[in-house]
């Protein structure tokens, strides 16, 4: 199972990763970060295959992926 680290305080909730994820496995959290944005969260970490497309489109480099 890949490990996805999301820098919650860097995320601005722009949804580019949500639009990009081929497995539709990312959503916005109900919670807000320090800047007042709803940050992203992975719905089911088991479904992620660490393709890294979310990392490629993230303007704030808020996603780190380990496998």
């Amino acid at each position: 199972m890949p490990k996805i680290i999301i820098a919650q305080n860097k995320c601005k909730g722009c949804e580019l990763c949500i639009l990009t994820c081929p497995k539709k496995n990312i959503r916005l959290s109900q919670k807000m970060n320090k800047k007042g944005f709803h940050y992203i969260e992975i719905i089911d970490p088991d479904k992620c295959n660490a393709c890294g497309l979310c990392f490629q489109v993230c303007p704030d480099v808020a996603i780190e992926i380990w496998k």
Binding site: K12, L19, V61, I63
Partner: protein, 247 residues
């Protein structure tokens, strides 16, 4: 466990001050990744523009200087001629490169200066909240063209890549976008090629990158991506515009 994707070394930990969905952050990361891959971090000098990317020196972990509005190609010329062993690149928006800095851009390209230019084209002045730029599309509503850009009044959008391609001094010109993961990866390849052209001493290289600007286009992020794909790409076709290294 192995780290697959993470922040490149050439990027600092500073939070980007860009609006949500902006393409600048993606291009900052691509430039940083390319510099890491080529192993040139210690000898790279970047030149930040005036515009949204004015704080680029906070985000990059290598030497970056600032130039007056539109003058990065002139500053880059000076640095490159004095320190020819350094890798010098400018990072400019469309207001900086295509409006106030058009003279510097054309003459630096015409002289065939051995520099790399990263040109972010979002068809609007972002930092000053959305005035018409030379690259604004026909009919585009901005704060200074509230009824849409009218060619009788404001002329036509400038295709900078095609304009520079007629100059003998230019070596590599390409146009990319950052609207999808595939285009982001293509943009990275073009940026890498542009830096390689400079490292080989072959002359002027420029990569134009179409970027979305959701707040100033008054669009949501998905709508702005659609605008890039439908409207911008039909006027500014993607691809390599000129590659003299192959000839």
């Amino acid at each position: 466990m192995k780290k697959l994707f993470s922040k490149p070394e050439s990027l600092t930990d500073t939070d980007h001050k860009y609006c949500p969905g902006c393409g600048h952050g993606i291009v900052h990361r691509l430039v940083a990744e390319v510099i890491d891959e080529l192993g040139i971090r210690e000898k790279t000098i970047g030149i930040a523009p005036v515009g949204c990317a004015v704080f680029a020196y906070d985000y990059w972990n290598f030497d970056v200087t600032e130039a007056s509005h539109g003058r990065p190609p002139a500053v880059a010329t000076g640095i490159k001629r004095f320190l020819p062993d350094r890798v010098v690149f400018t990072y400019q928006g469309d207001g900086d490169l295509a409006a106030i800095g058009m003279a510097e851009t054309i003459h630096a390209a015409n002289r065939g200066e051995n520099i790399t230019v990263i040109f972010i084209n979002n068809a609007i002045y972002g930092m000053t909240t959305g005035q018409m730029a030379p690259t604004s599309l026909l009919g585009m509503k901005t704060t200074t063209s509230p009824f849409g850009r009218d060619p009788k009044l404001a002329g036509y959008p400038i295709r900078v890549g095609e304009l520079l391609s007629t100059l003998e001094g230019t070596t590599f010109l390409a146009r990319c976008a950052v609207d999808s993961a595939k285009h982001v990866l293509d943009a990275k390849k073009a940026i890498k090629k542009a830096f390689e052209v400079q490292l080989a001493g072959k002359g002027y290289s420029m990569v134009e990158i179409l970027s979305q600007c959701p707040p100033n286009w008054k669009k949501s992020v998905p709508e702005s991506l659609e605008y890039v794909r439908k409207e911008m790409m039909s006027y500014f076709p993607l691809g390599v515009i000129k590659d003299k290294t192959k000839a």
